[in-house]
Structures are given as C-alpha cells and as structure tokens.
Symmetry: C2
Subunit: 557 residues, 2 copies
Amino acid sequence: MSSKRLIYLPLGGAGEIGMNCYVYGYGAPDNERLIVVDIGVAFPDMDGTPGVDLILPDIAWLEERKTRIEAVFITHAHEDHVGAIGHLFERLGQPAVYARAFTSNIARGKLAEYGYSDKVVKTVSKWPETVTAGPFTVGFLPISHSIPESSSLVIDTPEGRVIHTGDFKIDHNPLVGEAFDPDLWAEVAAPGVKALICDSTNVFNTHEGRSESTLGPAIVELISAQRGMVVATTFASNVARVKTLAEAGEAAGRSICLMGRAMRRMIEASVDTGVLSSFPKVVSPEDAMAMPRDNVMLIVTGSQGERRAASAQLANGKYQGVVLKDGDLFLFSSKTIPGNEKGVIRIINQFSEMGVDVVDDSNGKYHVSGHANRPDIEYMQKLVKPQIVIPMHGEHRHLREMVKIAKGNRFQSILAPNGMMVNLGGNEPSVAGYVETGRTYLDGSAQVGALDGVVRDRIRMALNGHVTVTLILDDENEPLGEPWCEIMGLAQTGRSRAPLVEVLEADLDQFINRASEATLADDDKLEQQLKKIVRQTALDEIGKKPEVTVVISRLSA
Amino acid sequence: MSSKRLIYLPLGGAGEIGMNCYVYGYGAPDNERLIVVDIGVAFPDMDGTPGVDLILPDIAWLEERKTRIEAVFITHAHEDHVGAIGHLFERLGQPAVYARAFTSNIARGKLAEYGYSDKVVKTVSKWPETVTAGPFTVGFLPISHSIPESSSLVIDTPEGRVIHTGDFKIDHNPLVGEAFDPDLWAEVAAPGVKALICDSTNVFNTHEGRSESTLGPAIVELISAQRGMVVATTFASNVARVKTLAEAGEAAGRSICLMGRAMRRMIEASVDTGVLSSFPKVVSPEDAMAMPRDNVMLIVTGSQGERRAASAQLANGKYQGVVLKDGDLFLFSSKTIPGNEKGVIRIINQFSEMGVDVVDDSNGKYHVSGHANRPDIEYMQKLVKPQIVIPMHGEHRHLREMVKIAKGNRFQSILAPNGMMVNLGGNEPSVAGYVETGRTYLDGSAQVGALDGVVRDRIRMALNGHVTVTLILDDENEPLGEPWCEIMGLAQTGRSRAPLVEVLEADLDQFINRASEATLADDDKLEQQLKKIVRQTALDEIGKKPEVTVVISRLSA
C-alpha cells in the first residue's frame, strides 16, 4: 500500500444545507496536496446570528495549509456554493479558481468587490475538458439543477475516480442548459468509480422528481384565467424558471417586466455567457404600468419574503412605481425554505389586505425542486456504481438517511459530517481524523468567529436590555457625585411606579455610601458589586436581569 | 329601528392566529353593555419581540370602559384563548369570568398566580344551561376541538341569537369530550341565527377533516414495529391525543411515562374535572429507565421544539435521567406551527446524531388538526344558516377567503379585522367604527406597549451592537481626562488592525481637543457629535453603525 493517501474533508455543507466547502487531498499524510470544491455562504437569522451579514465556513484549517492548495473548483453559482469566494480568497492564498462560464461570471463579480481581476477565475468547458491541479485531474460533468451550467466534478486521483455530484436532480428536459445524459454518465462511470460524494437534500422525498418542463402548461392556464395584473416570484438564479414564467406570460398574451436587481443580474449573466439563447422581450416597470393590467406580467425577486426584495416592497405598497390592487394575482413559483415561513406569510397577508390573490406551490403545480428525490438518488447511485457513497449537502438527518439507503443497496457508505476527514483509499473508507470546523461571521466588514462572543453579547442585549452605570471617584476613593444610569431596551417603570433609572440610582447610591474603602479602591470588585445591584434591582422592579456596562472613572487632583 | 345597537369588535385574533379577544356589546351607541369572549396570548419570537415573555392584546379600549363589562367568557383552555386572563384581570376591572369546568381549572391557575381566589371563575355547565350578563344570555354549546370541553357560545341578544364558534372541528368521535352533535346544533339554530362568528384557521385546506379516532390503529402499528424505546410528543393540552398515544403504547405492550410539567398539569386537570374517565397506568421516569427499552413509551412535551421542554432536553442528551439512544424512535404526533420549523429541525438533527429515528406528521398518519377544514366550515355554516358570517381566528388571508366562501354560499359576510367595530343590527352588517388596537408585551413583570420603543431598542442593539462613551468635564468645560469607550456585541478589531475601542477613543479625543467652547458647554450638541463620531469611525473600521450611549459628567469644583 502506498504511503500516500486520498482524503475527503467537508468543512461546510455536511450537517447543514448551506455553506458548502469540501476538501480533497492526495499525498503523504499531513502533507497532501489539496483542492477545494465550492466555497459558499449560509444566511444569518435573528434567532442565532442577529446583525450578521453572511455566515462563512471557518477555513482556519485550510488557511494554515494554504501553500498546499492547488485550486478551488466551483460546481455552480448558488450563493451557498460560490458566495464566500470573495470574502475568503485572500485567506486561501489567492488560489486558482475554476468554473464553467456562467459560474465564472458570478464568481468574478464577487471577487471584483475585493478588487481582484477577472483573470483570477479560469473558465473551463464542460467534460471531457479537464484541468490538472497537482495530483488531481478535474472535469465539469453537466448535471441538471436549478441554475445554469451546474456541474458534477469528475476528480481523477492516483487512487481512482471520484465523482462529486454537486447539487443535482435528474431532469431530461430542463429547458435551460444540458439535459441529464445517462449515456454520458454511464460512460464516465464505466472505468469504475472509487467514491460518489452525493447531494442528499431531498432524500426524504419518496416521489420521483419532476422535470422543469412540466410546469409551463399549468402556469399558462393559471395566467390565462386572470383579469388583473399577474406577478410571479422565484429564485432569481433559477433562470429556467424565470424563462418558464416569462414564456407562460407571453403565451397568455402579456408583456413581461423583470423587477429586482438579482433578477436582472442573473438574466444578464445568462445572456452574456450564452446559456440563455432566447427570452421574451421585456418592458420597463414604467411601460408596464402604462399598459392595461391584464396585459402585464411581472417577474420579481423575493420568493423567500426577504424584506428588501421586490415582492416585499410590492406588499408594502409600491415598488418602482408599481402598485398592486384588488383583482391582481401573485404567484409563488417557489418553495419556502424552513425558517422563512413568517416572512412569506407576512407578505401573503399584506397582499390579502390589498385584495391581491396569492397562489403558492402547495398544490405542486407551479414549482419543482432542483434536488434529486430518493428514487432519483438511488438511480444515480446505481448508474455510477461507486465503491463508496458519501452523502453531503444535507443536515445530519439527511446524511444519515442516505447512508442507510446506500448500505441497503450494498454500497459502502460513511457518514462524514463537517470536520471528519475520511481516508478514501484501501478496501473501505476510514476516519483519518477530525478537524476543528465552525462558522465565521461576516459582520459589516469584519470577520468574527462564531465563538468570539460578539453575537452572544448582542443576543443577550436583545433578550435582557442594557444598563450603563457610570461612577466617578477622586484619588482618595471618594465618589464625586452619585452613580448615573442610562437604560436601553428596558421598561421605563416597574413595580414601584417610579422611573426605573431613579430606583437603580437610589440603590446604587445607597451601596456606595455604605461601601468600604477597600471596595471603593478596587475597580474589579466595585464593578462586580454595581452590576449585581443593577441586576437585582431590575429583577425586583421589572422582572428582568439586564446586561450592564459599568464605567468607573478615577480623577486625580 | 331601536336606538340601541348590537356590536361585535375583535381586539385580537382577527388578523392573526393567536391572542384571541372579542367583544360583543348591546345598548345605546357608545354606551353598550359589554361581554368579552376569550382573552388569550400570542407567543413572542426573536425576530420581532426578543426578550418578551408573552404578547397580550392591547385592551386600552376595554380598560376605559371597564365599568361596562358584564363578564368574560372563555371558550376553551388553549393559551391563545385563556392565557392573558391573569395578566389583564385587574385592568379589566376584575369582571366575572365564566367557563366550563376544565377551562375553569386552567383559568383559576392563571389567576392564582396574581393572588386571585378560585371564586373569581364561575363554572358553567354545558348548554342548555345559560348565564345572564346584562342584555346577553350566554350558553356553552359543546364543540369538538383539540382540548377538552371546547365550546361554542350561544349568545342571545335583543337583536337575536349570535353563535361564536370558538375553535372547532367536526368530529363525531373525538375520544375525549362530546362528539359533534348535528341534531343539537340544528335545534339551537332552528329559531334563526343573526350571526355566526366562525373559526377560519384551516379554510385553505380543501379536504374533509379527519376524526381523532382515525389515528389509533396507525400509531399502534408504528409502535408495535419498534424494538427500542418509543417517545411521542404532542401538545400537552391535546388530552385526547395524549390518551390516544398512551392507549396505543399500552396496546403495543408498553408502560407509559409522561414527561414535562405541562403534560402532567393537563392530565391532572382532566382527571380532576372528570373529562378523562380512563387513562393507562403511568410509571415514573426512574421506573421507565429500569425497564427493557422495548417495554417503555414516553409521552413528552415540546412538539414545537421549545428549548426548555422535555423533547429538547432529551435531544440535548438527558432529561430526568432518561437518555435516548441508537434504535429508539421519536414520534411527532403534531404539526409544526409556522415559525417553529427551525427549532423542530434542530431537535430532529440532534436525534439523528444519537441514532434515534424520527417520524413526523408529513404522511398525515399520526396527526389530525383541531380546526375545521373548508368543507367542514361550509357544512357548519349551512347547518346554522345564519344571516351573517363573520370569520375570526385567522390571519387576514384566512378571513378574506372565508368571506369569499360565505358570500358564495349566499350568506351576508363582512371582513372584520382587529379594531373594526361591526353593527350586527339591521338588514345587513355595517362598520360602526374603528378602535385602536395593538399588542402589549409582558416583559419580565412589566407590561410594555408594542410601540413604546423598548423592543425596538433591543432589536437595534442586536443588529448593530452597542458602544458606551463617557466624558468628564469640569465646570469650565475643560475635559478631565480623555473620552472612554466600552463596546458590547462588536468586533474587537477592524480595518486598521488596532483595537476598535482605541481607534474610537483616539477619534473622540481628537474631536474634543478641537471642539469649540460652545460645543463643550452644550450637553445635547456634544452628545450628538460624540455619537456621530462613534458611528462613523465604527463604520470605517468594521462596517457597522452601533447604538451609542453617551454619558457626559460635569464636575463642579
């Protein structure tokens, strides 16, 4: 057996849906040459990450080994696969980045925000073109998904061929981009595949997946029945869906208007890179508003209820001069991602107040998923016949379910969550070690570790409110004036019906007057005591224990 | 036409699912005698109401008219119908409260927390018993729902009979409590019904509702197939379901153990009030752990992923000595309420990591809703044949849909959201006016208005972090020492790689040194300037504009 080894290490995406970042390595243990597959983001929420702009994978492990990184490969242009490339590019040592044309277009935009030239990202044509990166030879094998030019990676290594599916579904008529080609896949798999690293997102869905092409007729029928304006939303990056919607609108005799920056950006990128050969003529919002309402269809951003997107702004009353009204229709050609329900429901109710009818995907007629369901996952595994199946792109429950299925179909399989390094060599996969992983927050322009306490402190202030206490002492530890309090995010009055700050100040003053010289001389002790009093008094008055900042100033004569 | 009028006024629950509070009045305009139907809470979340304990209806309108309140009637014991009774009882002028026995039991517990005696709540038997409250005669007409002794209210008024459905479903075999009795309902409706105020929660579900009794066999089958421990969760107040689960466990040869305070409280109340005549024998957690795992079934609280409930604690590792492990099964016999998805998914993934299989209600076999679906709503309306249908217990979209349906069935109908007062008299319902409504937050022990800014400030601190600035001046406006900063919830270092507080202090100091005498002498101006500098410097350094508390101290000689 060789002293070299082939390793697989997920740093993000294996234990969550989002923030994908996978590492493959080959070489002597602890000296492998590395490639990175995808470098995506996850999205923050008020519950756990208030104020955070984006969540990035913690790449400390990679950063320490950046001289060993041969290249980064991006499977497709979804934010959870490409979104962190700009933010982490320098820390990765500015490696070569490879992607197909559409993905390159998007990745370049992200790197440009950090001042990097377009040359950083190298565009690769689809399989059979390959790129050599150290011990790896990598090709982009077309696969259907919900964004143009999604690719699986065929990674040839000295230990054999590995296929990393990326996000995928089996779609024989995806409308935009390459149809799933079973013959090509069979051909690629024919020499034997060591490991299939496989998207597990929809493993719990037991129905066969449906093609993008099944949606058009139902949408045309829906639109044709409308007498008011029609507005549809979907993910901007789902270019095939945007096209489906636009063509359905056109077929129903309507002019199409695209609204929202991301929507226009994606259609531009599609046209620039040639992935979109035809698209109905679009009109401006201004022109749209000048037409009879039943001649217009808007396609807008904001399918997840995002507050700043077009859909939310329309729900709030007006966007770029467009106002919806009684008799209009709003179509969600999308699925609500768990966690976004409240935002979506808020919009639906706002539309309801305007008299706008809302149709969502609950009947399954106006949306299909971009991920393979269980039967399609099994089909893929049986087509590729790998020695090993490793689930990725899923929460723990998805990974676990796929391992069960793969083993049931007599493949070797291992559940490798973020941070577990797997040795793919030998007769069966084995755990090669564990790496510290986690999350880094992009917070404004700063990168903050998830465990740094910054966000924890914000959550505490949100839950408990905040009190500032100031106290000035002279150089003989005599208080100059009384302690002063300011509150933020707390009830103004409590049980005693006096202003809370006054009660706090009175209690602090009483303490100061009785405090020993030793206490008054000791900043730490004094601060702890003042905090304790504030928290106890607030608890008595309003039933809450606030966060407290104490500033003790000592003046010398 | 009489100079008196019959009014309906929702103060909560019509425009949301939760926080139910409806007012009926009869008398001369602006001098009606009032009854209140239900006084519930809504639940806070981190998104909009961080740190808040409960959300109560804003009852300012009622409080100003408390001498006109004849009584409060509680339809059933769900928190969104009874949860605010203790918190608002005094502000309502300590009115008479009427409910059936089980509901009384729960309401009394809530009033006891505020020191009120059991006598405050008067227990009423089911229809045909009635209570006279001013111009109203009110009876509790049994209706099936998901908690014992749910009732519709038959409200006889000088303008005719009004039926307030409360929450309901049509269940002819609800297992606990009275089956829906169409003959009794027809009899009550026979004299003619002026208005049906009708639950609209499930109006978008087009399937006929299913009976509680349909679940047992599937659950027995599921449990019988298990070789490890079985744990099931549902709403504690769904006593029928708890019974279904327990009996299924017993039928599968297992001992039953109830875990979670709310679960035991509800079963106790059911036994005390006689609504539960039989229930399998239960064992303690300690005894359960001493048995073979396949002889045990736990029924636990926490179906919504609540962090402190039994399910979350089991997912965290241990609860009352019970540890789940590989091969156990966890059943959600419940629906996840929108907004709770993330918490539920978190638990499922934790169980996955333990090797515990999770079954949820996605196949519809292990849960039925407590609310009437569209066909059942239509059935109810056709059975009662009211002059007017007014939807309640729903978001705007639900209310709107029910108005459409009612009008389609040739009933008069009006969409009355919270705050709209409807005159039910005359030939058709009309808007009698609008009342300011809103939400009151129970925050610790204080009641805070939703628009008071307290929660807004907390959200801002959570999003933006907080900086405290202190500055001391002498009586000639000369700074004593330099400005001092403390940060909370902000990155420690930014662009310049120096500590953020040091950069802030340097910029503030520079400003102070250059500031005019007039600026230094003016607290307001100085504070505004210091805030502005902090926000600008933080923006430059870390890309965020924090909340700022400035404390300027002026010392006299």
